[in-house]
Subunit: 492 residues, 2 copies
């Protein structure tokens, strides 16, 4: 059975034989001028590059590379202003910068220096240029530990070289995988960072820490909330697709109904088609924002409610499939410009996909499964052996995921020894179940945003924001202010 | 000028041109039957091997190796007893086991399981067997970060496989570099370890954190305490050695007087000779124990006092040099068995030296210098460039030390975010100045032992123990008991 596997900002189709994410699809538009909430052109920063060790953890390889970072100092009070660092995740840092309006909103009142640091192997921060993804050797330095060491080295260097920065307290921010990095940065380098805001960071998604069902069942909830019938229709659709897709004529009919760029030729294509649909439902849940936005695709406000419009009464057969087509069209063709829908659609920043695919095949092993009951997806199980075999097959070199490593190095569910981290999660977000939803200690604070999708709190303030995200941001600012005050109080 | 450079249990001569430690001398006797405080033969443990990843931080190299560990479960109460882990340092783990009597003393009352884990690249834990030290590639995995990951993986695995161990709280112990590792283990893996006793751990010895003068001036203090004249005589000796050593006849006379196995042929040899003397004074300070012991060499109680016997009145010229000879003879020939003294003497576990030499040339960059005023050594300065050049020269492959890395990854002097670490230091120990001598918080406790040399508190209880080390051990046990109680209190 197929597995639709998602992560954070990168959406991926995994094929029937568990070929992992590197074969995946990315549907990110790095910059979309039609997006009213995209900040590109409205914000001002400078771009710099910092010489980093390719390998922080060994001394044989002395290569260095240029890490990109963006810097905005127009709000900064060098005497008392903090440094706000965005710990870049699996994509072009300018895109994260443009979609993290919260930092731009609060920088003036905090008089903060903003730094957005790109994650190695993404965007323009390629350790080996166009050869970075060439083989096992060139990819060997794509790990979260190396990325955290990059952030630590960058900040340490900037603090010693940037006039005024020497004593500035640093606060880390990140969303999704970037949020995981922000929280891990505080775990591993509290000498560098006084606290971290980890927004929608599914830090418990490691296969051994969370039930594999978590993602799919949580992704189902906003559909049930929009309309229980909508979720039932989607649950029903898999059988109807299988039925229609089992014959040549049926596949032709499906291809035509869904206006697929490339017709479904066989049952393997039908499996890919279902994975692509699964992906779409998950993506839609992640970006179920209360106002028109274009985070993954240009979409209207509350897109799930809208998508469910065509699935609000019990359907089956041809009418059900037509309803499904209408719903996915909202996601892929809201602007009406798409000539056809491409189930193997590749985004504009394909390296981002490849990178996350590699990470998912090494240390970021996230188990996903579905039972079709607590969720609306076609049932499939999690099988690590098949998954691991798929990794090597897909990458064309031996690649063995190590599912135990992430939980060991990032403290599993035993975070009590940490401090000064905010874990915010929107309950509409499929990843929220793998996040920290209850405060662990007075300094490890969980903020739950019932009406929030994937790191809504990191986005710019918007008149359509639900009150709970407004309250979350207020609480976040207060806590961050507390970290900064404490820092200066203890400063000698 | 020469630099005598020491670390922990490994003593090293660095030559005049700053060739670093790998060329060094090790004077450790792994097991000495004449040593009344060595526990070999008196304690009972089993030896096991655990399959470890050679590279925890990358996925290209999938090699594994067998890490040795010693296990003693005869005191262990599986229901409530803790696990005491010794985080092995730069040498054979059986030797540390035999010289860490404190753990054997307290295991029965704590009903603890004892585990002594060997550090990779030392003892029998060779990632690539006899090729481990072959070249830059094979040595690439000799880092403290990899060693900590080994400890974490070992403990995690044992807790899941050893019946009764699943819920046992783990406390880490270590002395010298092993103490640094114990403290860093708590910083980086508090999910694995509830607390750490870091005995005589000079965690601030990194070149950028401590004045390079620290070691030499602290090494001088016990000599001054034994007899100010003794220290003055040693300070005076360098000029006399230089004078005598500047001529062939003088070198011959020196060689004969010091019964050197190999005569000093030229001024370079004289430089090595002085380094060897410097080493000796430092070593003697480290093992200035209150009872006869054989940690580095077989020695009487309070060996500095004894060595200073021949240097207690102001001397110069020939009588001074004779006094110096008598003093070093105490160190090298207390048993009277040595036929000659070898300034290039190699210990029985030379890999330990080589390993530390590599670590000192990569991440463990410890600056040492002397001014001849606050200390009794011949003045020399610290020069990183020369040091780094010496590393590559000595290892016959490019090897660039990275002095910034250690402070970054191990939190520099900014440890406030940590918890549950005891830093104990004996003030007689030359390394104490680079340790934590003041408590940082209620859970980061400094214990100072005025009459203690290098991790005296980790040794077996002895009737000749000064009261302050007895008190230190009592306090340590109480704090450790508190960690364990807290663990069970919060256990769900």
């Amino acid at each position: 059975m197929d597995v639709g596997c998602f992560f954070g900002l990168v959406c991926v189709v995994i094929f029937g034989n568990f070929v992992p994410q590197a074969a995946g699809i990315r549907r990110i538009s790095p910059y979309n001028p039609r997006n009213p909430t995209d900040l590109a052109g409205k914000i001002d920063y400078k771009t710099f590059y910092f010489k980093q060790q390719v390998d922080h953890f060994g001394f044989e390889n002395t290569d260095t590379y240029q890490q990109r970072y963006l810097l905005a100092d127009q709000f900064w009070d060098k005497n008392e202003g903090p440094i706000f660092l965005y710990t870049g995740n699996e994509g072009d840092i300018t895109w994260f910068c443009n979609n993290t309006g919260f930092l731009w909103d609060i920088a003036p009142e905090f008089k903060a220096l903003l730094i957005f640091a790109e994650h190695r192997y993404y965007g323009l921060s390629m350790p080996y240029g166009s050869e970075s993804y060439k083989d096992a050797h060139h990819l060997n330095y794509l790990t979260s530990e190396q990325a955290l060491a990059d952030f630590g080295s960058l900040i340490t260097s900037l603090k010693s070289s940037l006039p005024g920065a020497k004593n500035s307290p640093v606060v880390a921010f990140g969303g999704s995988y970037g949020g995981m990095l922000a929280s891990w940065f505080r775990l591993k380098y509290p000498n560098v960072v006084v606290g971290s805001l980890a927004a929608s960071a599914p830090i418990f998604e490691f296969s051994e820490l969370t039930n594999c069902e978590a993602y799919m069942s949580t992704a189902t909830k906003p559909y049930v909330k929009a309309s229980p019938t909508c979720a039932d229709n989607i649950r029903q659709s898999w059988a109807d697709i299988n039925k229609v897709g089992s014959t040549g004529a049926g596949r032709q009919s499906l291809s035509s109904m869904f206006r697929l760029c490339k017709p479904l030729a066989n049952v393997e294509d039908v499996a890919d088609f279902k994975s692509w649909l699964s992906d779409t439902w998950g993506n839609l849940a992640m970006v179920n924002y209360p106002y028109p936005a274009s985070f993954l695709e240009p979409l209207p406000a509350w897109p799930i409610k809208k998508a469910c419009g065509s699935l609000s009464s019990p359907l089956t057969g041809q009418p059900l499939l037509e309803g499904i087509f209408e719903a996915v069209s909202l996601y892929y063709n809201y602007t009406g410009q798409a000539k056809c829908l491409d189930i193997n659609q590749q985004g504009t920043a394909s390296l981002g996909d490849k990178g996350w695919g590699y990470q998912a095949c090494t240390e970021m092993v996230q188990a996903i499964c579905a039972d079709g009951k607590s969720d609306m997806f076609e049932p499939f199980s999690w099988n690590f052996t098949s998954y691991a075999a798929g990794c090597s097959k897909n990458w064309h070199f031996p690649l063995t995921p190590r599912p135990d490593w992430g939980p060991l190095v990032y403290w599993s569910r035993n975070l009590k020894a940490a401090s000064n981290i905010i874990f915010s999660n929107g309950l509409l977000d499929p990843w929220s179940t793998s996040g920290v939803l209850k405060s662990i200690s007075p300094t490890l604070v969980a903020i739950v945003i019932p009406e929030g999708a994937h790191h809504l709190d990191l986005r710019s303030s918007n008149p359509a924001d639900p009150t709970d995200v407004v309250a979350a941001r207020t609480q976040e600012k207060k806590i961050i202010q507390g970290w900064i005050s404490d820092y200066w109080k203890n400063f000698k």
